[in-house]
Symmetry: C2
Subunit: 319 residues, 2 copies
C-alpha cells in the first residue's frame, strides 16, 4: 500500500488528496484494467484466431479507461474488496470497446482512425469488425458470469447482488441505454435537435454506461439506497460535464478567433451544447454540472476524494 | 393439459407418442415462444422507436424456433416447472435472431431476403440493422438477468444454477462458439476446407447454440452429470444431422437429374458435407447422426419421446 495515496480498499483517506495523488491512482487503476484485459483477451491457436486478434486489437487500444476506473474507485470507496470488482470493471470496458468498433463502421460514422490507430474495419475488414464487436459484447457477459461462479459465493444474498450488478450493466448497454442513444445520435444528424432530445441522447449514449460504472459497484458492495442515489446523481452530473466538455473541446482554439464554432461537430451538422447554448452558456452549464457532481458526494466525506478529483478532471480536461 | 399429448411438465408420457402428437406439441411450444417474444419486444413511444421496431421485425419473423423448442422440451422432460424456462428459451432465440441480422449484412452474406421477407438492412438501413442486432444480443442478457431476479429465488444453490445456465448460453454464443464459427465460415469461403475444419465450423456456428439449447435447461433443472452428458451427446448429433440435411437440401432435386451438386453452396464455392462426401456419403453420415442422437436418449425411456421425434424431424425434413 502506498502511504501517500492512502488505502485503496479502506473506508477513509487519511492523507489530504491532491492532483498528483489523483493522477497516480488514476494511472494505477488504468494499468490494472489494461493488464486484466490483456490477460482476458488472449489469442488461441485456432483456425479463427483472426477474430481473437481483432478483439484484442480494439480492447487494448488504450483510451482513458474512465468507466472501469470509476468502477474500481467506487468499489474501493465503499470497501468492496471483492474479487469481482476487476472483472466487472473490465466487462464494462469491453462493452465500451465493442460500441466504438461498431460506431466507426462505414455504415455508421465511417471513421478510419481512432486514438491515432487505424480502426478495426480498416485493419481486419468490415465483416470481421462487425463480428469482433459482437464477440466483445458477448465476452463481457461471459466474463461476468464466469467470475461470479469462480468467486464461489455461498450466500444467496451475495449471489443476488451479483445478478443485480450484472443487470445494471446490461440495462445500461442495450436498447433502453447506450444503443438507444446511438440511434438518436444517428437519426438527429443534420437536423436541429432541441435541448430535450440532446439531453436524452447523451443520457442514453454515454450517460447510461457512466451511471452503471458507479451504480454497479455500489450494488456489489451492498450500498444502501441513499448511497446508491447519491452516487447515481454524481454519475449523471459527471456524464453531463463529460459531454459538455467534449462539445467545448470541439470548438476550442478556433472559437476565440472566429467567434463561432467551426469544429467537426458543426461541420457534420451536429447539435451540441455549444450550438444550442453558445460558448458562454455551455461553459456555465459545465460549471453547474461540475458543482452538482461534487455536491452529490457531500455525504461521503473524505472517502470520496478520488471521485471528487475525477469530476474536476473530467470537467477541466483539455484532451 | 391435453390427454392425447401427455403432460408437458410430468416425468413420463403415458400415451405412445406419434408424429401428430409431436407436430402438435412442436406448434404449441413455438406459439408460446412467439407470444412471449411479442410481449418482450414492445415498441415504446420514444424518439428512438425505430430501433425497437427493427428489433421486433427480426425477432418476430417466424422461423422454426428449433432452439427454444428444444429448451422447453428438455425442461418439461426433466420436470422443470420453473418460471425461467420460457424467458431463457426466448433469450436463446434473441441470440439466434441477432446473428441472422448481422449474417445478412452487405459486408457479410449480403442477403436481401430471409424467410420470404426483406432483411433488416433492406427495411431499416445498414446502420440500424447493425444496432438492432447489437440490441437483440444485449436484450438476451437483460431478459435472463431480469427473469432470474424476478423469480425471487431464495436458495444459493438455485441461484448458482441460474448463473451456470446463463453462462452456458453465453459461452455458446461468443468467440469460442457461434461467432467463432461464423469467422471460419467466412474465411473458408472459396477455398476447399477439409473435414476437420468443416466439422469445427459447424460445431461452433450452429452446434454450440443447439447444444446450449439442451444443456442450459438441464442445468436449470438440476440434472445430474450423466443426464447432462447424454443430452449433450444428443445435441451434438442433432446439430450434425441438422447441418448435413441442410447441405443435402441444397442439392436435392437437381442432383438426381445431373448426378452432381449444383445448388447455391456449390456456386458459392462452399465446402459442404455433399461436396466432401458425395450424396451417398452424406446420406450415410446423416443416418449415422440420426441413430446416434436416438441412442443418446436411451436412458430417458418414454420421457424422451418428443426429443426422439425431434431428431427424426430434423433429419428427415424437406424444408
Amino acid at each position: 500500500m502506498n502511504a501517500v495515496m492512502g488505502p485503496e480498499t479502506g473506508a477513509t483517506d487519511p492523507i489530504p488528496f491532491g492532483r498528483d495523488a489523483f493522477a497516480a491512482r488514476l494511472a494505477r487503476y488504468a494499468a490494472r484494467v489494461d493488464a486484466e484485459l490483456e490477460a482476458i483477451l488472449t489469442v488461441p491457436d485456432v483456425p479463427e484466431r483472426r477474430l481473437h486478434e481483432a478483439m484484442r486489437y480494439s480492447a487494448s487500444s488504450g483510451g482513458k479507461r474512465i468507466r472501469p476506473v470509476l468502477f474500481l474507485a467506487v468499489g474501493d470507496m465503499l470497501g468492496g474488496g471483492s474479487s469481482l470488482m476487476l472483472p466487472f470493471a473490465c466487462a464494462l470496458e469491453l462493452i465500451h470497446a465493442y460500441s466504438l468498433i461498431h460506431d466507426d463502421l462505414p455504415a455508421m460514422d465511417n471513421d478510419d482512425f481512432r486514438r491515432g490507430r487505424p480502426t478495426s474495419h480498416k485493419v481486419f475488414g468490415e465483416a470481421m469488425a462487425i463480428l469482433a464487436g459482437d464477440a466483445l459484447l458477448n465476452r463481457s457477459y461471459e466474463l461476468m458470469l464466469k467470475s461470479v461462479l469462480e468467486a464461489g459465493t455461498e450466500s444467496a444474498a451475495d449471489l443476488a447482488r451479483c445478478v443485480r450488478a450484472m443487470r445494471c450493466l446490461a440495462d445500461a448497454a442495450g436498447a433502453c441505454g447506450m444503443v438507444g442513444g446511438q440511434v438518436i445520435d444517428m437519426e438527429s444528424e443534420g437536423c436541429q435537435a432541441d435541448r430535450n432530445l440532446l439531453e436524452r441522447m447523451h443520457r442514453l449514449k454515454t450517460g447510461a454506461l457512466i451511471r452503471a460504472a458507479v451504480a454497479s459497484p455500489a450494488i456489489l458492495c451492498g450500498a444502501g439506497p441513499e448511497e446508491e442515489a447519491a452516487l447515481a446523481l454524481y454519475a449523471d452530473h459527471l456524464g453531463l460535464a463529460f459531454q459538455i466538455r467534449d462539445d467545448l473541446l470541439d470548438v476550442q482554439g478556433t472559437e476565440a478567433e472566429l467567434g463561432k464554432p467551426i469544429g467537426s461537430d458543426a461541420r457534420n451538422g451536429k447539435t451540441t451544447y455549444v450550438t444550442l447554448l453558445g460558448g458562454d452558456g455551455a461553459r456555465m452549464a459545465l460549471s453547474d454540472a461540475r458543482r452538482a457532481a461534487l455536491e452529490a458526494l457531500s455525504g461521503f466525506g473524505g472517502r470520496a476524494s478520488f471521485l471528487r478529483e475525477m469530476a474536476v478532471f473530467v470537467a477541466d480536461r483539455t484532451f
